[in-house]
């Protein structure tokens, strides 16, 4: 079985991780009913025939793919990127409902740097002269 990844081209089935039906793209709101969540997580059409399911190209471009295929013949009709389809990433909860963000951690008190006597400071002052002599660009 080969899937033609839109980015990587035709690749062996081994490169992909099958997740499940395209139902997973229609995630209910966090406060949706129990039935809506049960439907989303568990109930499936499970057709003997054309289906659309989600495959992750884990050994390739790591993109999520929506594959249109036939579960009886294994014929693959289409492979699209989930992002192209506009389904996008899992929606984040509404701003009001989001918990208060944690306060930013206090910056750690910086340890006082020990004074380093630079033995080479005299040499550093002398350097520009040598640079000018040799014409080295900094």
């Amino acid at each position: 079985m080969r899937l033609k990844c839109p980015l990587c081209g035709e690749r062996d089935r081994r490169e992909f991780f099958y997740y499940g039906a395209e139902d997973y793209l229609d995630r209910p709101a966090a406060d949706a009913s129990l039935d809506a969540w049960d439907n989303y997580l568990h109930l499936r059409d499970n057709p003997a025939g054309m289906t659309k399911d989600l495959w992750y190209h884990e050994a390739g471009c790591a993109q999520w793919l929506l594959v249109t295929r036939n579960t009886v013949t294994h014929e693959i009709s289409a492979v699209e990127l989930v992002t192209d389809r506009g389904a996008g990433p899992i929606p984040t909860p509404k701003a009001e409902a989001a918990p208060d963000p944690k306060p930013a951690p206090e910056p750690r008190a910086k340890a006082a740097k020990p004074e380093v006597k630079r033995a080479s400071s005299a040499a550093a002052k002398a350097e520009p002269k040598s640079d000018q002599k040799t014409g080295r660009t900094k």
Partner: protein, 416 residues
Amino acid sequence: MRYSGLKVITEGLLGNKGWSPAWRDPAPKADYDVIIIGGGGHGLSTAYYLAKNHGITNIAVLEKGYLGGGNVGRNTTIVRANYMIPGNTEFYSHSMKLWEGMEADLNYNVMHSQRGLINLFHSDGQRDYWVRRGNAMINQGDDAVLLDREGVRELLPYLDFENTRFPIYGGLLHPRGGSARHDAVAWGYARGADQRGVDLIQNCEVTGIDIENGVVKGVQTTRGAIRAKKVGIIVAGRSSQVAAMAGMRLPIESHILQAFVTEGLKPVIHQVISFGMGHFYISQSDKGGLVFGGDLDFYASYASRGNLPMVEHVMEAGMTLMPMIGRAKVLRSWGGIMDMSPDGSPIIDKTHIDGLFLDCGWNYGGFKAVPASGWCMAHLMATGAHHEYAAKFRLDRYATGHLLDEEGTGSQHNLH
């Protein structure tokens, strides 16, 4: 007719003219008390126990093809009672006891061979897991023996003990575990049901389920309409299609499991052996072929054949575990349609439609469950109450959270 050794000898001397068909081939009547949709292992055992345990005999088993032509017709034949969580352990323990009395009960040789089943483990963590499981089995009243590395070597000297990638730490032995002849159990239950008056109707595909005001009235089939007060859907991998006829969506996704048989060999593998590195298991049939399999292909499929990556993986696993089998020729392979449930455990329940019952979600473990599934489904259909051994096999448990997550992987079809 009763089968016996004496009958075999007598008939042999009389030219074998006295044998009668093992079951009738009746035309479907216009109505029955009960219709069982699906003439596989579970459907046939349900019909048998409805007749035997509950005295209900006005039953039709409707099979779209030939009896036992589905998953019971091709599987790796393992019979075991080594589950771990409450809800499952009592069910499979009961099933094992039914297997042990089956041949006497059915008067049929199902070649049930309690040759022992060994689950190998390859790390400290895996050993801890199998110790826990063995204790769960013993608590249930079944049998488990912990073997250390030398204990395994005594029984299975041909394993690769030098394997550093998967060193053999030991194994859990289930002495009463073993195998049985898959066709025979279907035929035994078929014959038993038929003898008690059940009509076995083959080449009869259900095309619709008739429901009025939330009450089931009967079915439409390729051989006509048949009325019934109670209908049981027992069709394994086809559950979604049949349930859709009743307007239902199920928590089932049908996946493919491949299995393989080699040419006949002299007896070399005397138990059922399961490799702890993954899902590889092997035994030897009485015809001599090595019967083995591994993981699902891991995508939804009704093709009844799998793809080569999993074939390669299964062969690799076999060669890793026991290199001696490398010379054997693989004669045939097949793929079955597995009704995967979200938690990997089965469903034996009523539906929201009065008189409509459902038995499905066996994943790839339905064969050992044939007797107890029939026993418990018959109890449910006859009395309306769940049998105590299948009380937790609820259809709505995914919504209520009462999962039977035996493998601890989560409530998702692709994780079992």
